[in-house]
């Protein structure tokens, strides 16, 4: 089994790579490959889209790789392969992002990526650090992750899903901030599972074994 971590020249791939490698080794989930090649993505059984940075810059960088998004889209939408987006990789699953400018997303899960606006002005933006998950819709990738478990967040924008059924978990930060979205064979985490110690590694290993 092959899991492709898509490298589109955005931020920290090393941490994600190491976390997926370790969990693949521990659970016998095959090989993890970091790639920018559409051909490799097309062959992969699972696809992970990480990403750090601003929405417009990440979108542009991804689309600068000829044929890469088309390969991801065909694997996920046409062939129903399991997909995980992390941070910006999750946000790009939305209809559009409003960071700096109005940028079209993949429109895989209806919604907008909007600035976090905590009701309490003392709350800082970015939302940075460990926050505890409130799970509203159970999901196989969250098996063994409990209500209240902590995950590591670092972001200023979040995914407001149009259909509440697509929001799997949120955290409280002066408002309800989306933590996980999911639909069909795709799931997206706003937090960094690769940096979230126990709960994060559990999510990674569950994803590697997920058969939607």
């Amino acid at each position: 089994m092959l899991t492709a971590l898509v490298d589109y020249n955005s931020g920290n791939l090393h941490s994600a790579h190491k976390a997926f490698e370790r969990m693949a080794r521990e659970t016998g989930a095959g090989t993890i490959v970091v790639t920018s090649e559409p051909d490799v993505v097309a062959k992969a059984d699972r696809i992970v889209l990480p990403g750090d940075g601003a929405f417009p810059a990440c979108k542009k960088q991804l689309f600068d790789y000829t044929g890469l998004f088309e390969a991801i889209s065909e694997a996920v939408i046409t062939n129903g392969r399991p997909f995980m987006g992390i941070c910006i990789g999750m946000q790009m699953m939305a209809t559009r992002g409003l960071e700096y400018e109005d940028t079209a997303g993949f429109d895989w899960i209806g919604g907008e990526v909007v600035k976090i606006t905590p009701s309490d002005p003392a709350l800082k933006v970015p939302h940075m650090g460990w926050n505890n998950l409130h799970i509203s819709n159970p999901h196989p990738v969250l098996d063994g992750v409990s209500e209240g478990d902590h995950a590591y967040f670092v972001h200023s924008y979040h995914f407001k899903a149009t259909d509440p059924a697509h929001r799997i978990a949120h955290v409280d930060y002066g408002e309800e901030v989306t933590a996980i979205v999911a639909r069909d064979t795709m799931i997206g985490c706003q937090f960094h599972p690769e940096k979230s110690q126990r709960a994060g590694l559990r999510i990674v290993s569950n994803f590697l074994g997920w058969k939607p």
Binding site: S15, D52, G53, P126, H127, G129, F153, K195, S196
Partner: protein, 265 residues
């Protein structure tokens, strides 16, 4: 609810921890990766590596260190010291850092923060500010702080030749897109007399981005004060953890007992 972070900081030179680290059962206390693993197991919320030599030759060592640490630790890692360009940021991120901290380079050219934030996002761009008190009111409360660079050896001057004001600089680098400020009081660093609370609070209240309080921790009450009185989002300490005065868990339990939201598991 977002939790207050405790961040142990390791001073690294030529790939080795230089302030003593005194863990029980640690095979090699001078190896940063071993120290990182011990802090990961102890439940630290993040880790900070500071490259104190920050020479060009040392760069390769830091990349290697970031790589080896990321293989072992699944918590966020900030690396700072001698970071000058967006290429430095990219290389450290690729090696395994989660956040990269600018210091002197941002004072010399605040736009480097903007370039790095535009490219990699504010979430991974930290600006370290080292500041000293330069004015007090009649009660002796500090009221003004000036920035120093180059490991605290060089006073920074504004374009009029005056000492660069730490509060104004904090607001400036926030506007350039810094995601976090690591604020070190040079008056307090190494003294174990507690954070410079007036400075921490003034700057934390002046910006929207999180401020990490640093410099001067000697007791667990100091950590509490940094948050309750200094309004810091996170507290950084070195000696009290390295020398085994307190464990991370003891610090977290104590802060929680004072009503601060902490990640206890």
């Amino acid at each position: 609810m977002l939790k207050t972070r405790i961040i142990p900081c390791l001073d690294v030179a030529d790939g080795r921890v230089v302030k003593g680290v005194n863990f029980v059962d640690l095979i090699d206390a001078g190896d940063p990766v071993e120290s990182a693993r011990a802090y990961d197991a102890a439940g630290a919320d993040e880790l900070c590596f500071l490259d104190i030599h920050a020479t060009h030759e040392n760069r390769g060592t830091m990349y290697d260190l970031a790589t080896r640490t990321a293989e072992q630790c699944f918590m966020p890692l900030t690396i700072g010291g001698g970071v000058r360009t967006t290429e430095d940021v990219r290389n450290l991120l690729l090696a395994g850092a989660d956040k990269v901290s600018f210091n002197s380079a941002a004072v010399a050219d605040p736009d480097v923060i903007a370039r790095a934030a535009d490219r990699f996002g504010s979430q991974c761009i930290v600006c370290a500010i080292d500041a000293k008190t330069i004015a007090w009111d009649e009660d002796g409360t500090p009221t003004k702080w000036a920035i120093y660079t180059h490991g605290g050896r060089k006073p920074a001057l504004d374009k009029d030749g005056h000492p660069m004001d730490a509060v104004e600089f904090a607001k400036l680098i926030e506007s350039k897109g810094a995601g976090e400020i690591l604020l070190t009081s040079m008056d307090r660093d190494g003294t174990r007399a507690g954070f410079n609370i007036a400075m921490t609070r003034t700057i934390a209240d002046a910006v929207k981005i999180p401020v990490i309080a640093s410099g001067g921790v000697g007791t667990l009450d100091h950590l509490v004060e940094g948050v309750t009185e200094g309004h810091a989002s996170a507290v950084l300490a070195a000696s009290i953890f390295h020398f085994g005065d307190y464990t991370i868990q003891e610090a977290k339990d104590y802060m929680a007992s004072k009503g601060i939201p902490m990640r206890l598991t």
